[in-house]
Amino acid sequence: MPEGTTPAVPRPPVDQHVDYSVPVGDDVKSTTCYMCACRCGIRVHLKDGRIRYIEGNPDHPVNRGVICGKGSAGIMTQYAPAKLSAPLLRVGERGSGEFKEISWAEAMEIATGWLRQVRETDPRRLAFFTGRDQSQSLTGFWAAQFGTPNFAAHGGFCSVNMAAGGLYTIGGSFWEFGEADWDHAKYVLMFGVAEDHDSNPIKLGISKVKARGAKFVSVNPVRTGYSAVADEWIGIRPGTDGLFALALVHELLRTDQIDLEFLARYTNATWLVVRNPGGADDGLFARDPNGKPLAWDRARGAVDAALADLSPVVIGEQSLPDGRRAVPVFQLLAERYLDAEYAPDAVAERCGVPAATIRRIAAEIADVAFNQPLVLDQPWTDVWGRTHSQTIGRPVAFHAMRGISAHSNGFHTCRALHLVQMLLGAIDTPGSWRYKSPFPRPIPPGPPPAGKGAKPNTPLTGNLLSFPQGPDDLLVDDAGTPLRIDKAFSWEAPLGLHGMMHTVIGNAGADDPYPIDTLFMFMANMAWNSAMNPAEVIRILTDKRADGSYHIPHVIYSDAYFSETVPYADLILPDTTYLERWDCISVLDRPIGSAHGVGDAIRQPVIAPDRDVRPFQDVLIELGARLGLPAFIKEDGSPRFKDYPDYIVNHQRSPGVGPLAGFRGADGNKKGLGEPNPDQLQRYIENGCFWRDQLPPEQQWFKHANQAYLDGAKAMGLIPNTNQVVLQIWSEPLQKFRLAAEGHGERQPPAALRARVARYCDPLPIWYPPLEHEAQDLGHFDLSAITQRPMAMYHSWGSMNAWLRQIHGANRLYMARTKGEALGLSDDDWVFVESRTGKLKCQVKLMEGVNPDTVWTWNAIGKRAGAWGLTEDSPEAVRGFLLNHVISEWLPAQEGFRAANADPVTGQAAWYDLRVRVTRADGPPVSEPHFSTLREPPNAPRRIEILQYLVKAKA
C-alpha cells in the first residue's frame, strides 16, 4: 500500500457538475511494466478493451505502488502510430525503406529458409543479438540450440563492468544482484548512477534515507536528478571514480580504519599468494593437496584457510611446506594502496576533487561504519556453526552504475568500489549494500561459457554467456583467434560476460574473425542510438561485395516500432507491445529478487493486438520447431511448445528447474525446484503477476557466510553447494590471464595482445586513464563528453510517445557556465562538437551544476527524420542530436591491431570516455549530422494533428 498520507475526506459535497464515483474501468489486470528495464508491477485498468489508467501495484516488491513518469505514460506507447503492423519484406535497396507487407506464413518460411541453410553449413554464421531483452533465458537457450556461439543482449554496452566487477569480487553486483539497505543505511554513497536504472526502488530509497536524516552523497559529474537532492554533490571528472575510490582505500588503510575481522572471516585477505616472480605459479593461491587455499595460522603455520579456529596472520612472507614463499592477500593490498601514488593529494587534480574532500569522505564513512554500527537483535549462525546473538552492521551503503560502467576502466573501478566496501565490512550487513537473492553465488558463479566446437546441425551445450576461470575457458582457437563474432571471451575481452553487441556489425563488416550470413536482431536500435557510430553501422549494413551482394547477406529484425534500424533489415517480424504479450522475468536470467528473498515475475497480455503482429518469443519458439532444434521439438518432430506461455510453464532447464521459480510442482506448492505446474501462470496472475519468497530474518544478512541461508538457497536450486562464498579481493582468474600473458601455460595471448592482457588483468584493482584518452591531444579535445538519462525517457523508447516527447523533445549540450561564457556562448547558441573521429552540431545550454571540464546531454533524444512515427519537422530530428555520432567504436589502431573502444577486461563499450572540443557554429539552425528522411513502412497510419485520448466509463 502506498505510504502516502491518507486523507480524512468524509463525504463528497453536493456538486451537480461532478460525477464522483465513475468506475475506473470495467476490468483491471496486473502485469509488469516495460517502459524501461526496472520491472515494476502495474495494474492496468481497461474500459471496453482500451486502457483507462495504469497504476503501480501496491503489493509489488519492486515499486510498492509507485510508478514513474514513463510507466504512467504507457498508454501513449501502446497507442503510438509508430507501431509496426504487419511482417515486411524488403523490395528496394537496404535503407530505401521500400517494403511490402507479407503474411506471417511467408515471413516464417523465409526466415526458416535462411536460418536452416546457415545451420546446415556453419551455424556460426548466424549472429543473433537482442537488445534490452528480458527473455534472455529463452533467447540465449535458443541460440545454443541453434549451435551458434554468436549470441548476446545489450549488457556488453550497458553494465557488464558492474556485473563482472561484482560477480568476480563479491559474488553479487550493484543493481541487478544487489541493493542498498535503504531502511537502515546511515550514509549512502552513490557513484555515477543513471537516473533510469532501478529507478523506482532508488527513488523510494532516497526518500527513506532523507526522511531518516542519513547523509546521502552523490559522486557524479552532473548535478541532476538524484544528485540534486543529495546532501553533498561531488562533481567528479568522468572516468576518475576508480582513482577516487583507491584514494579512499589509501586513507582507510593509512588511518587504520578497516574491519580486519570482517576481512579475515569473509574475504580472501588471509589467503596466501605464492611469491615466485617469473614462475608459472606466481600470484596464484597456495593450496593444499585437495586444492583448498591456505592461510597462515599464528600457531600452526599453513592451514586450510576455511578452518573455524583459524587465527590468521595477515602480514609477513611465509615459507610453505613445499619450500615456496607466499604472502597473505592483505599484505599485497596494503603494500599497493598505502603507496603515495594513491594519496588524496596525488589524485585530487585528476579527479577534480579536492584532497581535503577525499580525506573527509573517507573519515565520514569510517566514522559511520565503526563508531555508529547498526546492531539488530537478530541471531544468526555462520558457516562455522557459531551462532551470533546479534547482527552487527556497518551502515554505509554504496550504489554505483552506468557512470562507472561506461568507461574502459570501469571493471577495475567497480572492483575498487567493492574493495572499499570490504575494508569497511559493509557487505550484506544491516545498513550496507546487500545481495539480492538469488545472489550471492560462488565466485565466479558458474561454468565456463559454451561456444567451442560449433558444427552443423548441432546444439552447443551450456550457457553461451558464462564465466571463464582462466585461459582454458576462453573462446579462442589455438592461434588465439576469437571464436565469437563479437570477440567476447577472447584475449581482447576475457571476461566479456555479456557479449559485445557494439562490435558485432563492425566485425562482420570486416569479416573479422569470419564473415556471417544472417544478422538476426531483436529490439536493438543498432542503426541509431544503440551504435557507437551509427553512420558506420549504416555503411556496413548497406555495404556490398564485388558481386553486388550485400556484405551481410541477410538481416532479420524484430521490433514493435518503426525505429531507425527497420529500414536496414530484409525481413521484419513485427513484435507486440509490452501490454500485448506474455513475458517471464526469469530466475534463469535477471529476476526481481530482493535482499528479502528470491522472486520473479511475468507479463500477461492485458489487451489484444489490433494488428498483424506476433510476440517475438512465440515466433522464436516456432522458428526453433521449424528448424528442428532438439529442445523445441518432440520425438516425432512436432513442435514441443505451442507458444511462449507453454514454454514458460513446461520448459525444464534441468530436472525441476524452469523459467519461473514460484508455484512449481503439481499442486503449485514447491518453490525453486519442482515439476511443472500446469496452473503456474494462473497462480502468478492471481498473485499480481509476481512471486516472491520471504527469507526468515535469520537468513537475511551475511548471506555469503550464513549457513541457514546457504542451505536454503541450495535446496531451492539457486546455488550449487552450501560453501561459504569467500569475497575475492585478490582475483585468481585475472592472475591466470596475466600469467598466460607472461608466457605461462598452453593458452597464451597472441603477441600483439600480451602487454595489454598483462597490464589490465591485474588481480588487484587498478586505475588507468580511459584508453580513449591515451592516443589523443587532451589539450585540443579539452572536454569530456557524457550522456545522462532523463527520468522520463528510456533510450529510444519514448519519442513515439505523444506525452513523453512533450517533456523531452529536443536536447541541448550542457556545459559549465564558466566554460561557455569563455567561448562567448549563451543558451541555445549553436556549436560544433568535434572528437577525433567526428563532428556534430547542436545547441548549448549553460549550467552551474556540472564538472567544468565536462559537457553532457540527455541520451537518445535525437531521432532520425521519419522514424518513430514522427514527421520530419519534429524537434527530435531538427534540433535533437546524439553524441553517438562522434564516438568511435574502435580505438586508434596500433600495430595493425584494432581494439574495440571498450574495457580491456570485459569488453564493455566505453561510451563515456569521449573527449571533444566545442566551438561556435554557424549556418542553418539544424543539428548535424542530418541524415536523409526515412521512408515510412507501407500502410503507416495517418498522423493526427489533434490527439484527444479519452476512455471514459459511465457513472
Binding site: 498508454i75 526518500s207 572471516r265 583459524l310 592483505f330 513515439m800
Partner: protein, 245 residues
C-alpha cells in the same frame, strides 16, 4: 463576475503538500496526472501536433527544473507546479459566467465546462500559471485534485487520493485537509516549515511546499595528522594483530 463561497472557519481545505527536499524531477506526477485526467472529470486533455513539431498538450501538472545559486554551492531545483486551490483566488472572481468556482465544503477550485466560454480571464488572473486552455473544446481546464478519485466509492479507500500523490516515487507529494491542524499534512507542514507560494499576492494558496531539509553537515576537514605512514613500516601495525574467526 463570480463570488467566492462563504467558507466557515475550519472548513476543510483539501490540497497538496509537495516536498522539494526529495523531488527529483522524474515527471511521474505530470504523466500520472495526464493519464488519469485525460479520461477523467475534465477529459479529454488534448495534445496538439502530437507527432510533429509544436507538440503541446493540456497538462494540469508540470515540473520545472532550474538551478539556483552559482557553482557547486548552488542547487538544482525540481519544482512541480499545479493549481494551489487558493482560498481567495482571482481566477474565480474574474470569471464572467460563474464557470470557475470554489467549493464551500472542501475548497477545491473547479471549472464547470458547460458554462465556460473560454475567455481566458482566469488564466490571466492566476499568477501561478495553473490554468490550461483546451483549445479544441474552447474551455479552460485545471487541476481538480482528482475530484473523481478522492471521493470515488468504486476505488479502494486507501487509493482515494490524487493520481500524482499515488504515483510519486519519492513520496514527495501528500494530500489532505490543510485546514485541520491535526491532519497529517498539516503536521508535516508544521514540522518541516511548509510554505505557501508567493503569499504576498494575497490569494491564500492552500497547497504548501516543503523546503529542502538542512543538508547533512560536512564533518570538519581532516588535517593531515601524523599517520602510520610516518612509521618506518606501516605494515607492522597489522603484523601482531590477533584475529579470530
Amino acid at each position: 463576475m463570480t463570488c467566492l463561497p462563504d467558507r466557515p472557519p475550519g472548513a476543510p481545505a483539501l490540497g497538496l503538500v509537495i516536498d522539494l527536499d526529495t523531488c527529483v524531477g522524474c515527471q511521474a506526477c505530470a504523466t500520472s496526472c495526464k493519464q488519469w485526467n485525460a479520461s477523467g472529470h475534465s477529459g479529454p486533455l488534448p495534445d496538439l501536433h502530437p507527432y510533429s513539431a509544436g507538440a503541446e498538450g493540456v497538462w494540469f501538472n508540470r515540473v520545472h527544473s532550474f538551478e539556483a545559486g552559482e557553482g557547486a554551492a548552488g542547487r538544482t531545483v525540481h519544482f512541480p507546479r499545479s493549481c494551489l486551490h487558493c482560498e481567495t483566488p482571482d481566477c474565480v472572481t474574474v470569471c464572467p459566467t460563474g464557470a470557475s468556482y470554489k467549493r464551500a465544503e472542501d475548497g477545491i477550485v473547479l471549472v464547470n465546462h458547460d458554462a465556460c466560454i473560454g475567455c481566458g480571464l482566469c488564466a490571466w488572473a492566476c499568477p501561478y500559471g495553473a490554468r490550461e486552455m483546451d483549445e479544441v473544446a474552447g474551455v479552460m481546464k485545471k487541476c481538480t485534485l482528482c475530484v473523481d478519485r478522492i471521493y470515488n466509492e468504486t476505488i479502494p479507500e486507501a487509493l482515494r487520493q490524487p493520481a500524482c500523490v499515488l504515483a510519486c516515487p519519492t513520496k514527495a507529494r501528500h494530500f489532505g485537509d490543510l485546514a485541520d491542524p491535526q491532519s497529517a499534512v498539516s503536521q508535516l507542514v508544521a514540522d518541516r516549515g511548509g510554505q505557501a507560494l508567493m503569499p504576498d499576492l494575497g490569494y491564500r494558496p492552500v497547497n504548501r511546499y516543503l523546503p529542502p531539509r538542512q543538508r547533512q553537515a560536512e564533518s570538519q576537514p581532516i588535517e593531515d595528522q601524523p599517520t602510520p605512514l610516518d612509521i618506518k613500516n606501516p605494515l607492522l601495525r597489522w603484523m601482531g594483530r590477533v584475529l579470530t574467526r
